[in-house]
């Protein structure tokens, strides 16, 4: 297996996540796009860990990223819920009270 096939797949997932995070209005959908980007980074780490034989640090870092992503989704959804309670919609374009 070529190393590049995993890296290019992960690049595609990352760019899709960037597009989704930029165009989606709903806070939940933006968080989903961020999950796509984090998973792309994880795939990269694991591919390099398989490339350097006997080096497990890549997998350990992927585990750390998974734990941090779980924390991020918890706090992020709490923020989206608070936004919904204050604006009665999860539309991020309406959270513009700090806009100049």
């Amino acid at each position: 297996m070529a190393l590049n096939q995993f890296l290019l797949l992960s690049l595609f997932l990352f760019c899709t996540g960037v597009y989704g995070a930029l165009v989606r209005r709903s806070g939940v959908l933006v968080l989903m796009s961020i999950e796509l980007m984090l998973n792309a980074a994880n795939l990269n780490l694991v591919a390099f860990s398989a490339f350097y034989k006997g080096e497990l640090s890549g997998q350990v870092f992927a585990l750390f990223v998974i734990a941090i992503a779980a924390a991020e989704v918890g706090v992020g959804l709490a923020i989206v819920l608070l936004l919904y309670r204050n604006l009665s919609s999860a539309d991020l374009d309406r959270a513009d009270s700090m806009k100049g």
Partner: protein
């Protein structure tokens, strides 16, 4: 083209399709369900890369926990469950240009830098025990920091989301 490459191609094709659907579908619940396919595909790629512990962690945490959180988030924010034309803002073209630019730059670098690098067959199987030994021997302080971070995120999520 060996069987592992055929497996990679099939899984990668379904992941690419589902990832595009996650960011373009007009139904917010469908986006969550397409995200399941992408996450399961990532777990399958981990198995292809011979890291089965991470594959099961991926299934348990992402498909088991994070997706349930997303579905709760969709229901609690009373998102429109049926098709809705209003899920995207009016930045489609700038966003597409930005992500295509990123893909072009990074793709050029990857093809240039790792164009003909192969992942060799593993000489010995890396077991979950070896991974655990690496975590608790070399990375024990970052591991403790991550556990404190999870505790902080737990308390923070409760404090932010509670009604007072």
């Amino acid at each position: 083209m060996g069987p592992e490459n055929v497996a990679f191609a099939v899984i990668a094709a379904s992941m690419v399709f589902s990832a595009i659907r996650v960011v373009t579908t007009r139904n917010i619940v469908h986006a969550a369900l397409y995200l399941v396919i992408v996450l399961a595909g990532i777990a399958a790629q981990y198995i292809l890369l011979a890291s089965e512990f991470l594959a099961w962690v991926q299934v348990l945490i992402y498909i088991g926990a994070v997706l349930v959180l997303f579905l709760f988030g969709i229901m609690l924010t009373k998102a429109p469950m049926r098709g809705d034309n209003d899920l995207d803002n009016d930045q489609r073209w700038p966003a597409a240009i930005a992500s295509l630019f990123l893909a072009g730059v990074l793709g050029t670098i990857l093809v240039d830098g790792y164009g003909d690098v192969e992942i060799a067959e593993p000489e010995q199987i890396v077991r979950t025990g070896d991974l655990g030994r690496t975590i608790f021997h070399d990375w024990v302080i970052p591991f403790e920091v991550v556990s404190m971070l999870l505790l902080g995120a737990l308390i923070g999520a409760i404090v932010i989301a509670r009604r007072d």
